[in-house]
Point group: D3
Chain length 291, copies 6
Amino acid sequence: MANKLRLGIPKGSLQDATIALFERAGWRIYANGRSYFPTIDDAEIECMLIRAQEMSRYVEKGVLDAGLTGIDWVVESGLDVESVTSLVYSKQSRQKVRWVLAVPEDSPYQKAEDLAGKVIATELVEVSKRYFAAKNVDVKVEFSWGATEVKPPTLADAIVEVTETGSSLRANRLRIIDTVMESETRLIANRSAYADTWKKHKIDSLALMLNAAISAQGQVGLILNVEKVNLPAVLSVLPALNSPTVSELSDRNWVALNTILEEGVVREVIPRLKAAKATGIVEYPLNKVVL
Amino acid sequence: MANKLRLGIPKGSLQDATIALFERAGWRIYANGRSYFPTIDDAEIECMLIRAQEMSRYVEKGVLDAGLTGIDWVVESGLDVESVTSLVYSKQSRQKVRWVLAVPEDSPYQKAEDLAGKVIATELVEVSKRYFAAKNVDVKVEFSWGATEVKPPTLADAIVEVTETGSSLRANRLRIIDTVMESETRLIANRSAYADTWKKHKIDSLALMLNAAISAQGQVGLILNVEKVNLPAVLSVLPALNSPTVSELSDRNWVALNTILEEGVVREVIPRLKAAKATGIVEYPLNKVVL
Amino acid sequence: MANKLRLGIPKGSLQDATIALFERAGWRIYANGRSYFPTIDDAEIECMLIRAQEMSRYVEKGVLDAGLTGIDWVVESGLDVESVTSLVYSKQSRQKVRWVLAVPEDSPYQKAEDLAGKVIATELVEVSKRYFAAKNVDVKVEFSWGATEVKPPTLADAIVEVTETGSSLRANRLRIIDTVMESETRLIANRSAYADTWKKHKIDSLALMLNAAISAQGQVGLILNVEKVNLPAVLSVLPALNSPTVSELSDRNWVALNTILEEGVVREVIPRLKAAKATGIVEYPLNKVVL
Amino acid sequence: MANKLRLGIPKGSLQDATIALFERAGWRIYANGRSYFPTIDDAEIECMLIRAQEMSRYVEKGVLDAGLTGIDWVVESGLDVESVTSLVYSKQSRQKVRWVLAVPEDSPYQKAEDLAGKVIATELVEVSKRYFAAKNVDVKVEFSWGATEVKPPTLADAIVEVTETGSSLRANRLRIIDTVMESETRLIANRSAYADTWKKHKIDSLALMLNAAISAQGQVGLILNVEKVNLPAVLSVLPALNSPTVSELSDRNWVALNTILEEGVVREVIPRLKAAKATGIVEYPLNKVVL
Amino acid sequence: MANKLRLGIPKGSLQDATIALFERAGWRIYANGRSYFPTIDDAEIECMLIRAQEMSRYVEKGVLDAGLTGIDWVVESGLDVESVTSLVYSKQSRQKVRWVLAVPEDSPYQKAEDLAGKVIATELVEVSKRYFAAKNVDVKVEFSWGATEVKPPTLADAIVEVTETGSSLRANRLRIIDTVMESETRLIANRSAYADTWKKHKIDSLALMLNAAISAQGQVGLILNVEKVNLPAVLSVLPALNSPTVSELSDRNWVALNTILEEGVVREVIPRLKAAKATGIVEYPLNKVVL
Amino acid sequence: MANKLRLGIPKGSLQDATIALFERAGWRIYANGRSYFPTIDDAEIECMLIRAQEMSRYVEKGVLDAGLTGIDWVVESGLDVESVTSLVYSKQSRQKVRWVLAVPEDSPYQKAEDLAGKVIATELVEVSKRYFAAKNVDVKVEFSWGATEVKPPTLADAIVEVTETGSSLRANRLRIIDTVMESETRLIANRSAYADTWKKHKIDSLALMLNAAISAQGQVGLILNVEKVNLPAVLSVLPALNSPTVSELSDRNWVALNTILEEGVVREVIPRLKAAKATGIVEYPLNKVVL
């Protein structure tokens, strides 16, 4: 199909967050009730809602040119696709998620090797099998439809389950004994689609803008004035990561600084800036950031 | 465990409707955030939230004494449990649901036999395999994580999918060519739990009250007065199913009737009752019905 | 069209109340977004949403067989339709509404005749013209698109406006000097449709059931027991309108009464019933009442 | 004021539940934004919103003829008013609430006497003082504006606090060592107003109807048919509290029973009724009950 | 009235969007329930809610000094008012709306002239009459209260109806055969009020600020740094409409650009800016824009 | 406690506004249902919810290091705490609130002295006593639990009540005759905690950031370009309070201005800026302002 990118959007728990991310990046996606084909305000893109677990299959077979899904499900599928960029935008936290091996709190198991001959329940069957195979531990891995945390000890001896903070595992009295894999959302592409010049350009623009919107979410802009004599002190207070833009003012003894800061450090940086004699400090919100 | 019934509640799409049904039947279930163990206002019951797909496994292994789930998932599991009663309470309609074999509208396939050698996508893998095996048709049945309707023709040649009205299949331009199985919600029990006198009594009381609440939902009470001379005409208008209670009035020429009617026929029955000279016709709502 | 009743539902302020009334009467109407043709769960009826002002025109021309609208708009149109029944179900009150002639509080006008040569603003142009013509008062009646209450004295000398309680007129400092017409909702029918046996029967059933639902809304059922010796005292307390059903009990000295009461009088009747030695007094809700 | 009852409605946490109770009892109260004088659809009543703590003062001084408030605040005020009836309608539970003496979980205090010389924080200052005085224990009782549970041990040694289930006390690691007083909502009246015939009649009617609505909330109606030969068995299953109404049917071998049951026992009674061969068992909802 | 501007706000479908626009422009308007006189936080303005259809009449007669309404209703009224500025802020799209001549899809009519002798239903009676008169086509134009799309072919042969996208016409199986007039929202003023210096200044300030808020809604700010050697390449990527502000940095080899962009082009411009070696690209939101 | 600041958050009417203010200042506070100890995303702070009336007591006793409360309750308590900064962020207005002495509209009282021997109802007992004592007026001050406005004349002769606009007093037909005290929210600190270097630094940082967020709420940023020849005219239009940042552009004849404005004056300033030949005027939102 000429000049048309077929793009997979993950259906289910990530769907709303994904549509919100695209809106911040500059694309409006409209979900139409129960249809699998949401509309998008870009004539060069066609969207399709697909479960994250099956995304890599659609992309690998070329039904889709690109799609968003977790790297866990890409690895689980064992299929060969291009990983264009990582996109960390889940609402709850901005950390990566982990698939962990967990056992009942009061069980004797301390490491994977202790589980030889046991039953492991998980939604991530293939990755779990490879994990134990790599350790030469012989276990029975059973597919779980969900609510995996309640299975031990009656229906399973241990589980391989996804977690961000571990709180759900603790609430079910489970103890983590190893990390099986880390995961995060990825923009993936079909290998031959990504070899096509037009499609590669379109996919790369998408990746750029999605990341621009992600960056802006946790950052803010800061403008301030500083007398040149105080500039070194002020600069020493700013995080080294991004060098600020220093511009000339009509009053030649002063300069203006414009910089980007992580939202979480502002409450510590502003008091230090004021102590270093910065004035006219103004924090303003950002839509997109490309450094 | 003595005098304690372990009961499985289906987690997910049926969960809210199930909790509402229990409330109408006389039990309040309180879901506690993300816990799998909701509380219930009956000291003789312990609840657990389990995906419908795994309910029969928990019941068969005796982790639970009884549970509510679809008969489709019981058959899929191939496990041996007691089916205590059917419970038809899904919100949208009160019909049974069907798992159907569907193909693209414009495909040449007219019957299961036309699909020899083809790929069938479904969430109900084992039932589908048995269906084709019984017809001696050799197909490849692949597990689908959902959104099965969009797979033909690129990722599957046909699908086995659940439907109530067929509207979602039509919207995805699929044509039904056979019914693979009918399903409905069931209260199932572990065979040895159901052999225990106390547990059987408790399960049977649950079944009775749940059905009493289900019956009441689609029915209403009707009271009316009728002169004895008009009684045959009035009785002939009432549906034959439930005979009304006829009680004596102080005025010996009249009787009062009290009966239960399907809500859907009231709009036709009341005009006929009035034509048959019934008076003082009053319709009132019901909470529970045990005929 | 054989065995199909085309029914007009008033679009706008009465729409939701009308759909709710039909549900209580036994018919579910589903509005479909912006479509003018809602679906209904009765294969013998086709619905159409029409503004109340234009209903009589659609019914008179036979585009619709029957419809619900205010008698004010029927009279305004001057068209000849059958008025099948009145239906008083507006939410705010159960009184009729009135179109009144109102003038500024501090104006000298006391009666219609004082307005000779003046400008009258109203949405009900034809009825207003006839009202003044019948009194031989020459005025200029101007059509108003709404917000008629704010027009005097700059854009009109007086208005003819609809009101239930008069509070909106008072808030705009207007004084009522006459009632031009009273109005209420009516079920109207096309004359030739109403001459057709099947359609007449269908329309009359609708009228019966809509009124049954309206009656039930403001009434409740009351059951009580009374010793025969106290029966006259108890009966004297009950409103004379509906005679109660008196039924025989196994205890021959007692009877049971079952009756229907206006909801608004219950708080006065129950204390008197108790004083008259009634026992086991129970009030229960009603869905429909046909006396 | 002739033929006008001035009635106090408790402002604050009980306000919505009180207005809902009056609606079920037959009176609609309309709160008007921030006004202290809600309107009511009864020309013989004038309402005023007053904090429960001050209700008995308004009633004792004759500013109000009657009002609803907790007996705790009546006793706290030490004022002389008529207690007309108790009204137990709080949403969470239908138990009485208790003011308890509580100390830190890990403190050595076991009884009131152990607190001699200590500081007691409470909102119920006078009642607490009298409690300790009656035991001849000398303590310092300090008024608390709320959040009393967090004061021990830094700002108080013990507290006197209201509780229904004790869960909030446990959450703040406090231990109950005594009950200071039980409380519940009461309808109270001014003594001279209650001596006036018209006002007494009006207040008693209110008390009757409010209790009728409260009774109905936790009860349901049950109708059933039973062959006379099975009547003793069926009657033995019904709770002894309310004897059912037994009425004669046209079929002389059968009778119909109509009775009122606590909602909470229905799930146990219906299975027993069926076992005792009752048929046509129907449960219906109630608005008001006066036995 | 000295130093007081009487301003009409369109009541009905545009009301909420208008109040939101004023808030973005710097004025808060508070609608007071059913009053026609909302308050505004500017002592120099008095607001009045008026239906768009009647706005030009109030403004022409001098009851209002200025008001917002559609140019369609101004032309329909035939009255002489000053058109101060156009204001395109409707939510759905930012295109102008059109009044079109539409006929049933399967009718033979292809142009206005084919409708000679036919009935045309419309809410815009006078404009429609003039349209046909200008073409010397004799038709009967009838006023429609709404739902005009369902009138053909039974109650009208063609309609003149307002549309943004044509989707409602298509849904009712109508075909557009001509555009009768284009419309958009306007700020209009009374001619003599606009001749008053103080009122003209106030109206012009309103026009300026309303347009400043409208401009900001669809635009964003963009800041970026660029090495002077790359400046021509970067500038060539930016839309020619608004020239960016180029400011000097302390590092003399670099400049900073600050510019305003249409929100819809950002997703194309940022990738090109990055390709042209711009750095530190930041997009920020705007409240108002006056270029 | 080392490196841990114990901070009191006012429970009740100010709670949500306070949590929202902290979020804008850079701290997220999570209220946990009914717990008095909300969590905060700063490991150096521990929060506690305390009623405003008791805050100074907790701070003075050292249970808390610092807290937010009204200066009225600080003065009422008579306790000695450090007042770190005022924080004016109540939603309704940004004015200070006043405790006023009010009497019935039609009473003869004109000044405090006229109330000798009378009863004064108030929630602010100690402050009121001191107010009258300072004037040598002997009155009886009674504690009121709320709804103080309805007490005169039956339960009190006058009241001391808090008000922002006086509208509630007027609605209850009361007349203000004096201001007893002005109040506003304050960040207060325990004297010895504020003497600790680490705690003082932490409290001062909090004060700085809370004020930065408060300032930003009512202000906006304004950027504009101006030819140097027009600079004096443009500068004369800007409020004198904050001098704008003037920066050099590549085009040496022009400068760019960046300034902060009160939101309320923007609608007057922008038209004047345009008249003074400023171009490219852009208003943007702010998160925090420290001048």
